[in-house]
């Protein structure tokens, strides 16, 4: 244990601060091999993480890198640098602090490798890149501590797995390395601790005083929330009133599209011109930075934002957090509110604003859960092997390696402790030869074994390509949006390629809070003009979509069973009564299905309450069976509580569709050909290094430089069905996008008890789904039928049908030969 040197006590005293108990505890346990601190934001958590480092550096001069700080966000690294530099400068400590992210200039990066600072602040991806250099052992020599900030956020994604593999490497280079994790409140601290520590080391968990319980309520408005929809426009006057009554308000949304619409409506109503900004991941970086800077200067009264503002950046004096839309997950709600409010020992104040009446129910259920302190979460699975493949390639970039030593090192990472040697060897073989049953690449192996048994890159030049593809974050293909005739001007932001493809000239959509008119596509840039239209066509660019947790879903169904709903606002209670009247409410232990015509299609809503991903999988499985039954399904959309399927023909008998054994038995074959598997394959194949990311250059030419990864998937499935990547894809899909566990849970809950309601029109409960984004097309017989119809129409309209093709010129076909 180290005592706090006088320079520190003096400095704390000069600020009128006392050392928090958890800060001195961190100092006392500075020599623990691993230590996890769970503390609210604003409680001096970062300083607690760095205090042992600063004390150590103040007492003993240190050559080179002493402490590595990892955060999930680039912005956070920059922020911490600022916050840490203040005490270091004021105490006159001989400590050099630098950050290193994708935005750091190349010259500085180079110098950092030759002459590293005492404290380096970076991200998991930048760290992985650093470990890929041959001089990594020299750069990390003498490293004593690593601090992983917001570790609970990293724990939820493959970025965390990549980081822990990199820490395994650092630990081998520096056996005495101490690990510190900083986390917000989580439901299972031990799980995070096991992830942080070197396996099988123990890791103590320090719990800081969580501070007063948050003050969370649901916003009450004069106007009732709409029957459906997600934009919460009804709440604008009430939200404006709240913004007026507080210094700084953060208005969180679950998706970017919702944030855009809300911001637009807020401005239309903002007659006194309160300074309000918008911030989300689709906006251009310069725009985001401008908003961040204005926020830090205290010039904004409110920011409409998404998860891009979710992490613990210091936003100054935020005194109110408003969550628009149901929170989906109680833990995330608590973390979001706790983090945005940076005043220690003052209760966080938050308001929930349901966007529609279903969300009223969800919000009330979530508030109950918060009050009871019931956090939710799903256990994390074992370490993904696509990330391991990338780690093997990164290792090879740094120089020849011994397979057994690497296997031992990987086994010290908690998530990979159960990885068998055979599994490891399969990953190594994949990296070396592609791992195909047809041994086609013996001559062109990526990794070769040297005479002394070490593995190394066959062609050292391939290191550059591997480095360019480091990372586990999957970008969707996006296109920049610019104002027409301002080429070279600043882009307004980005939209998904798929969304751009649905636009016709004249269509309007929202971006950066303004309505623009689509003019055309030019060199893979969406060109738009300003437009004063009132009602835009919505941009569907992706925001993060979370699945409502099992616990929260169960609370909602339980609430449905009440005779009356005194805990709900009258409008929502009336809506549930109406549903009970025209159809029925979902019951525990039963499955409600509604069929009705709408929009010229036959629609079927299945209320499985299996979470968004589970309901999505259910959609895939059911449409596949409906295709086989000749019901011509065209597509489906999933929400957290239901799946809506539409098609050309009506479903009359749902029972045979829901036998769990049949669902499970056919899962593998059913999944094989579907879009979710292909999407998962693409992600895993990119991470594992089979395919390279699309470069913007390649897409610019309009020529597909590479053919689609779907072709690779189909080919592998046909000729090499046992290939490692298909195995990885299945594993990933089953626990991630597929979430079959929730379907099994549903099927067991329901056990064949189905209530099928055939209605003449959409029911109150089903209405919100008609407006949901993220529709999944079914490419079956219906597609051929639509194609034939449209082709006939086009030929007729263009007059070409009269001209060509003579002589017997109607398109014709027959099936089979």
């Amino acid at each position: 244990m180290q005592a706090l040197p006088p320079a520190f006590t003096d400095w704390f005293a000069s600020k009128g601060w006392t050392v928090h108990p958890h800060q001195s505890e961190m100092l006392k346990r500075a020599d623990d091999p691993a230590l996890l601190l769970i503390a609210p934001t604003g409680g001096g958590k970062t300083l607690a993480g760095f205090l042992p480092t600063l004390v150590d550096l103040a007492n003993l001069p240190h050559e080179g890198l002493h402490t590595l700080y990892i955060s999930p966000l680039k912005a956070l690294a920059a922020d911490i640098k600022r916050n840490l530099t203040t005490p270091v400068t004021e105490m006159g400590l001989p400590v050099r602090i630098e950050d290193r992210t994708g935005d750091t200039p190349a010259s500085r990066k180079k110098r950092q490798r030759a002459d590293p600072p005492h404290i380096l602040l970076t991200t998991p991806e930048s760290l992985a890149l650093l470990t890929s250099y041959e001089d990594a052992p020299r750069m990390f020599r003498g490293l004593k501590r690593v601090v992983v900030d917001e570790i609970h956020a990293l724990a939820e994604s493959k970025r965390g797995d990549q980081l822990m593999l990199a820490l395994g490497r650092l630990q081998r280079l520096c056996p005495d390395l101490r690990r510190v994790g900083l986390s917000a409140t989580v439901e299972d601290p031990q799980a995070i601790a096991r992830m942080l520590a070197k396996h099988p080391d123990l890791c103590a968990v320090l719990l800081a005083d969580p501070g007063p319980a948050p003050d969370i309520t649901m916003l009450t408005t004069k106007e009732a929330p709409p029957w459906s929809g997600g934009n919460a426009a009804y709440s604008i006057p009430a939200v404006l009133e709240q913004i007026r009554a507080h210094n700084t308000t953060l208005v969180f949304h679950n998706t970017r599209a919702q944030a855009e619409i809300f911001f637009h409506n807020l401005w239309l109503a903002n007659e006194e011109g309160l300074p309000i900004g918008i911030h989300h991941g689709s906006l251009d970086r310069q725009q985001r930075e401008r908003v961040e800077a204005a926020m830090v200067r205290g010039e904004l009264r409110a920011i409409v934002c998404t998860g891009s503002l979710d992490l613990g950046i210091d936003w100054g004096d935020v005194d109110l957090v408003i969550q628009i839309g149901a929170p989906k997950n109680v833990k995330r709600l608590v973390q979001r509110i706790g983090r945005a409010n940076h005043r220690y020992n003052a209760p966080s104040k938050a308001l929930l604003v349901p966007a529609n009446r279903f969300e009223v129910v969800e919000c009330v259920a979530a508030l109950d859960a918060v009050r009871e302190g019931a956090l939710d979460g799903e256990p994390k699975g074992r370490g993904p092997r696509d990330v391991l493949c990338q780690h093997i390639l990164i290792t090879a970039c740094a120089g020849p390696f011994d397979a057994t030593a690497l296997y031992v090192e990987v086994s010290t990472v908690g998530a990979y402790k159960d990885l068998s040697r055979a599994e490891f060897d399969a990953c190594l073989d994949f990296c070396a030869t592609g791992g195909y049953a047809l041994r086609a690449y013996d001559q062109w192996q990526r990794l070769m074994q040297t005479a002394d048994g070490l593995w190394q890159l066959r062609d050292p030049r391939s290191a550059q390509k591997i480095r360019m593809n480091i990372g586990t974050i999957q970008d969707t293909d996006t296109l920049k949006v610019r104002l027409q005739r301002s080429r070279g001007g600043k882009p307004l932001g980005e939209v998904e390629e798929g969304f751009a493809a649905t636009l016709s000239p004249g269509d309007t959509f929202l971006i950066g809070g303004q309505i623009v008119r689509y003019e055309g596509l030019r060199e893979m840039t969406v060109e738009v003009s300003r437009n004063a239209a009132k009602k835009p066509k919505v941009a569907t660019f992706l925001g993060t979509k979370f699945a409502t947790s099992t616990q929260l879903s169960a609370r909602v169904v339980a609430m449905f069973q009440q005779e009356t709903w005194p805990g709900l606002p009258a409008h929502t209670a009336a809506w549930l009564s109406l549903q009970r009247e025209v159809s029925q409410l979902p019951r525990p232990g039963r499955l409600l299905i509604e069929s009705f015509p709408h929009d010229g299609r036959e629609q079927t809503a299945i209320y499985g309450f299996a979470g968004r991903n589970g309901q999505q999988t259910l959609g895939l499985l059911l449409t596949k069976r409906m295709e086989e039954l000749g019901l011509n399904p065209l597509g489906f959309v999933a929400t957290d509580y239901a799946t809506l399927i539409w098609g050309l023909d009506r479903l009359t008998d749902p029972a045979p569709l829901f036998e769990l054994d049949a669902l499970r038995e056919g899962l593998d074959t059913w999944l094989a050909g579907n879009a979710v598997m292909k999407r998962t394959f693409r992600a895993s194949a990119t991470i594992a290094g089979l395919i390279q990311r699309n470069t913007p250059q390649a897409r610019k030419t309009g020529r597909q430089a590479t053919f689609s990864s779907d072709i690779l998937y189909d080919t592998l499935l046909k000729y090499d069905p046992d290939h490692l990547l298909l195995d990885i894809t299945r594993e990933e899909a089953l626990r991630g996008l597929v979430d079959f566990g929730r379907i099994e849970e549903m099927a067991e809950r329901v056990a064949g008890r189905i209530d099928h309601k055939i209605l003449t029109r959409v029911s109150p409960l089903a209405a919100p789904m008609l407006l949901e984004m993220g529709r999944v097309p079914v490419k079956g017989a219906a597609e051929e039928r639509l194609l034939a119809e449209e082709a006939a129409r086009l030929m007729q309209t263009s007059g070409l049908a009269m001209l060509t093709p003579p002589p017997s010129d109607k398109p014709k076909w027959r099936v089979g030969y």
Binding site: T433, G434, K465, P505, L521, I691, A705, I711, E784, M795
Partner: protein, 225 residues
């Protein structure tokens, strides 16, 4: 087998859903841009290990078309091999397979930019081939008429009710017919690209491949309704 019948330069032709062109009167099957050996070339040049099964997949589809049409003459319209080295590095099984398909058939290899010389397989190697009203060459010539070519890997799209369908496609006007790429690992060039718009006359048609070959006016703009 599904097909779309049409007439080009006086010849009655049939676009097959697989992307092959069948000329019944001449017993002639034409396929373009097979790109045999692509995965090997990619591995050799970039170290990327694509699933090495595209040659057998392409051969499997070609065998099916040959069997269905009982073609006596075959024209491979260039870029049959991803490069000349790829031609020699096919597996023995694949080489034998090609030889089996060639047996008893008149077989013409048109040279392409990827395979600009003989590659060691039987058959006739030509820069272009003329028969009846049609001229077969790899890349469309500036003033070609009755010309059948490949090279561009054209794709076309149709915006149906709420869904956009994009597939490899034949492009056809009064002068030219451009075939889609037949090989399994082949990307495509959109029909609305400047190159294809300049090449094809107004009134050109696109025949989308797939389970049901579908004929539409050639899309010349990215967005149609």
């Amino acid at each position: 087998m599904n097909y779309h019948d049409f007439r080009f330069a006086g010849a009655a032709l049939r676009a097959l859903g697989s992307g092959a062109l069948w000329w019944p009167d001449e017993d002639l099957l034409c396929v373009s841009d097979l790109h045999f050996g692509k995965s090997e070339r990619v591995a050799r040049r970039s170290g990327q290990h694509l699933p090495p099964y595209e040659t057998r997949d392409t051969l499997l589809r070609l065998s099916a078309d040959l069997e269905a049409t009982r073609a006596r003459r075959v024209i491979c319209l260039g870029d049959s091999f991803d490069d000349l080295t790829a031609a020699t590095s096919l597996t023995e099984e694949e080489q034998l397979w090609i030889a089996t398909l060639q047996a008893g058939r008149e077989w013409v290899w048109i040279e392409g930019n990827h395979d600009p010389g003989p590659q060691g397989f039987g058959g006739t190697h030509l820069a272009e081939f003329v028969t009846g009203p049609l001229t077969f060459r790899h890349i469309a010539a500036p003033h070609g008429t009755g010309e059948v070519s490949g090279h561009y890997h054209p794709k076309a799209h149709v915006q149906t009710r709420g869904r956009r369908v994009t597939r490899p496609a034949f492009l056809c006007d009064a002068q030219r017919l451009i075939l889609p790429a037949y090989g399994t690992y082949t990307g495509g060039l959109r029909s609305y690209s400047d190159t294809l718009c300049r090449l094809m006359q107004p009134g050109a048609l696109a025949i989308l491949t797939g389970p049901v070959p579908t004929c539409v006016p050639m899309p010349r703009q990215e967005m149609t309704r």
